[in-house]
């Protein structure tokens, strides 16, 4: 079982654009995994300070999943990326 590291920027801009809700939805995956009785991998969520990616053309929130950057992250995209990563790790 692998561990997935998700870094969610919680700087001003990213928080305003919904970073905290993304963190909530990542935590909510634990419940689903329990309900589905699926072998899940551990997900570690790190709330990180502003990485100065904001303020330009691209909007936050900025989220990194195992180092892979997602811009303008949304709950659904982040959850789906984690789910598919988990599943492939468990194969």
């Amino acid at each position: 079982m692998g561990k997935i590291i998700v870094e969610v920027c919680v700087g001003t801009h990213c928080t305003m654009m919904g970073a905290m809700n993304i963190i909530d939805s990542i935590h909510s995956l634990e419940e689903i995994q329990r309900e589905l009785d699926e072998d899940f991998c551990e997900v570690e969520v790190r709330a990180t300070p502003c990485r100065k990616l904001c303020g330009g053309e691209v909007n936050g929130p900025f989220v990194k999943i195992d180092g892979e950057e997602i811009q303008s992250a949304e709950n659904e995209g982040v959850m789906a990326a984690i789910m598919s990563r988990c599943r492939s790790k468990n194969l």
Binding site: V10, G11, T12, H13, T15, M16, M17, G18, A19, M20, N21, I22, I23, D24, A47, P49, C50, G55, N75
Partner: protein
């Protein structure tokens, strides 16, 4: 959609940030508002509609939201008026906010049906069709492919819905009207939501519940920033639910520093005013209840107090006349700094109405929400995490800080009462959301609240569930409690309540 970040939330916050940016960056004596012609394009770029059927409509909605965020009225839909009309009037450090505070943007409203039963695709036109059998008014018949409900007969008893083995019948209503505990939402001639201002008590729950972002309140960020830029001395009074609202790295001390970095001279805890309120209300309770008054209602939530007054006039005398914590805190500031401006920062839309009251006006200059404050931080590019922590100079007690949560107000008052009269047993009845408040007020009216302290809060979970918050309720509660426990004083009685220095 409280507690969920949706495109509705995003748009609202983008508008605040747009207005705040302009407020901070415009030439102070300038009268050029052309910036706002571009705003709607910055928020809704391109030619393809993202949220609705048309990109033009999306932008049109942004434009009305922008006016509201500047504290102005919307424009009439059927008559010409320039977007920037009256903006120069809004460009002042004085209060411009007027009624109506909460507005339905008519063309953004999708005219959702009001409480209707519908048969969905799930219907298999089964042989048994128990829906018809249980209907007491014979409103359901079997159509060609599915059951059909005759809406003119339907009495909304729910029976068919419960009887259908395929869950094919749904009842749906207007999210705004369902959220409104004051039954203030009706329809205009085009079937769109319309707020009955006589009934509305400005709790603001409709704003967060409309999935089409059709309802918005006015904001005072533009006037606040203008006052700051004009070098006025501005004090902020921050409601106890602020803890945790700005992300996990923004500790209370950093939030405080952030507010000051906006150009605000001093920040005090509204919890301090809550302590003052608890002392008054405990005294009032011990003196009056049950000999002179059946029960006493707390006074800190203006929507609850207004709701009682409008709907239960016979007993509204029993709601304490104590100032809300906001007003107590603001009075203290104005007493020592008569020329300072006071901004209340909280989760609350209701306080915006309270501050329009002639009696309160002299003390509270602006009311803004946490969400609006976030827009200011973002516009001024303040990274809370990078600031040095600061400390509140006079602190509120643990109980005062717990005012942010349902139950916290009554606890605070009871704790003071206990310290004055340990032998007295104080019974508490409490409710959050106006729907629940209606229930306890009905009981009270029937004489079933004798000797009780009644705590009412308009928002779910209390102020931590207010429409101007950013954090999910359960988490907010945890944060508030943790911060409350760091206070050197447990109850209002322990607080020396020192003045400003």
């Amino acid at each position: 959609m409280r507690g969920l970040f949706t495109p509705v939330t995003k748009i609202r916050r983008q508008v605040f940030t747009e207005v705040a940016k302009f407020a901070f960056e415009r030439p102070l004596d300038g009268e050029d508002f052309a910036y706002f012609y571009e705003s709607s394009y910055r928020i809704i770029p391109g030619e393809v509609a993202k949220y609705r059927d048309s990109v033009f409509k999306e932008r049109a909605i942004i434009r009305e939201r922008t006016r509201l965020a500047m504290g102005l009225d919307m424009r009439p839909v059927g008559r010409h008026k320039n977007l920037t009309d009256e903006m120069s009037r809004a460009a002042t450090g004085e209060k411009v906010l007027n009624l109506p505070l909460i507005n339905v943007i008519p063309f953004a409203c999708e005219a959702c049906p009001t409480d209707k039963f519908e048969v969905t695709d799930n219907c298999r036109k089964c042989l048994a069709h128990p829906c018809t059998t249980v209907c007491p008014v014979n409103a359901i018949s079997m159509g060609k492919t599915a059951a059909v409900i005759d809406h003119s007969k339907c009495i909304k008893c729910n029976r068919c819905l419960n009887a259908c083995p395929y869950h094919a019948i749904v009842r749906y209503g207007r999210p705004c009207a369902e959220a409104c505990g004051a039954n203030a939402i009706g329809s205009d001639e085009l079937g769109r939501a319309e707020i009955d201002q006589e009934k509305c008590v400005s709790c603001g729950l409709c704003i967060t519940s409309c999935p089409f972002a059709a309802i918005a309140d006015k904001s005072e960020i533009f006037q606040l920033v203008t006052a700051i830029r004009k070098k006025e001395e501005v004090f902020a009074a921050v409601a106890p639910s602020f803890v945790g609202q700005f992300g996990p790295l923004a500790t209370p001390g950093k939030i405080l520093a952030g507010i000051r970095a906006l150009g605000i001279s001093k920040v005090i805890e509204v919890g301090w005013g809550a302590d003052v309120g608890s002392l008054h209300e405990a005294e009032e309770f011990l003196e009056q209840v049950p000999e002179h008054r059946d029960f006493l209602g707390t006074s800190c939530c203006p929507s609850w107090a207004m709701f009682a007054e409008k709907n239960f006039p016979e007993i509204s005398e029993n709601i304490a006349k104590t100032h809300t914590p906001m007003v107590a805190a603001a009075k203290r500031i104005k007493k020592e700094r008569p020329n300072a401006k006071v901004v209340f920062i909280g989760p609350c839309v209701s306080k915006k109405i309270e501050a329009l009251n002639d009696e309160i006006r002299p003390y509270v200059d602006y009311v803004i929400t946490f969400e609006e404050l976030m827009g200011l931080f973002s516009a001024k590019r303040i990274e809370l995490n990078e600031l040095e922590e600061e400390e509140f100079e006079s602190q509120s007690s643990r109980d005062g800080r717990n005012y942010a949560m349902a139950g916290g107000v009554a606890d605070a008052v009871v704790n003071v009462a206990k310290s004055i009269a340990p032998e007295r047993e104080v019974q508490v009845m409490r409710a959050d959301t106006l729907k629940e408040c209606r229930k306890i007020l009905t009981l009270a009216k029937a004489g079933k609240a004798k000797g009780c302290l009644l705590e009412g809060m308009a928002c779910p979970g209390g102020c931590v569930g207010g429409p101007g918050t950013l954090l999910q309720i359960a988490r907010a509660e945890k944060e508030v409690k943790a911060f409350a426990d760091t206070s050197p004083y447990m109850t209002a009685t322990d607080n020396p309540l020192e003045g400003l220095t």
